[in-house]
């Protein structure tokens, strides 16, 4: 069965610095999608970025980028120039078997220090 692991329950970073959140997953599939979702204090989940496993180029959305290492089954999220509004829970999710359900990690709480 597929699993998603976020080994960092909490991370903190100084405002304007860069932080990387880790996510690893386990799958036997060759093609799949990976996602990072953000849940700010308002608690509405927001899709931040997506990556298809067959695409070698790492996805980027403004200050958010991923480091996708398919062989290592690693999918980390890098946030550049951290802002106070980036403070949130971040969840990694996997979709690989077309059953219309996502497999979720436990989340990482990101704290931004002013």
């Amino acid at each position: 069965a597929q699993t998603v692991t976020q080994s960092q329950p909490e991370m903190s970073v100084q405002e304007a610095e860069t932080v990387t959140l880790s996510c690893t997953y386990d799958t036997s599939e060759s093609d799949y999608y990976l996602f990072w979702y953000k849940q700010p204090p308002s608690r509405q989940m927001i899709l931040v970025i997506r990556q298809e496993a067959y695409k070698q180029q790492n996805a980027t959305e403004n200050r958010f980028s991923v480091n996708f290492q398919k062989a290592a089954k690693s999918f980390s999220l890098k946030i550049s120039d951290s802002q106070l509004g980036d403070a949130a829970m971040y969840f990694c999710a996997y979709n690989g078997d077309s059953n219309y359900q996502l497999i979720w990690g436990a989340g990482t709480k990101l704290i931004i220090k002013p």
Partner: protein, 114 residues
């Protein structure tokens, strides 16, 4: 564009009382719909999902039930609430096909059972 609504936003109910949470989606047809529960500071637990009117799949046996009376309406219910039902309830709808499937979330309902 698609929009997902949930209400109420906040609810305080005594143990043993009934529950009805409603979720509606605008701007799309025949979406897959999901109910998740989230304990404070924790990850997402999938409760129910639906691929069409009257079609409900339950992931966790409990005293909650779900119904989909209309294409874009998803209701979470309970006849008698337990203290353990307290949490944050998120409704989501799904877009895409196969492994490119993504989920988009409503604003959530914070339920406190007293």
């Amino acid at each position: 564009s698609q929009t997902i609504h949930q209400w109420p936003a906040t609810l305080v109910q005594p143990v043993g009382s009934p529950l009805s949470l409603e979720c509606t989606v605008e701007g799309t047809s025949n979406p897959n719909l999901y109910w998740y529960r989230q304990a404070a500071g924790r990850g997402l637990q999938l409760l129910f999902y639906s691929v069409g009117i009257g079609q409900i799949s339950s992931e966790v046996p409990q005293n909650l039930s779900a119904s989909r009376p209309q294409d874009r309406q998803f209701i979470l219910s309970s006849k008698k609430l337990l203290l353990s039902d307290s949490g944050f309830y998120l409704c989501a709808w799904g877009r895409g096909q196969g492994i490119s499937y993504e989920q988009y979330f409503g604003p959530g309902t914070r339920l406190t059972v007293t």
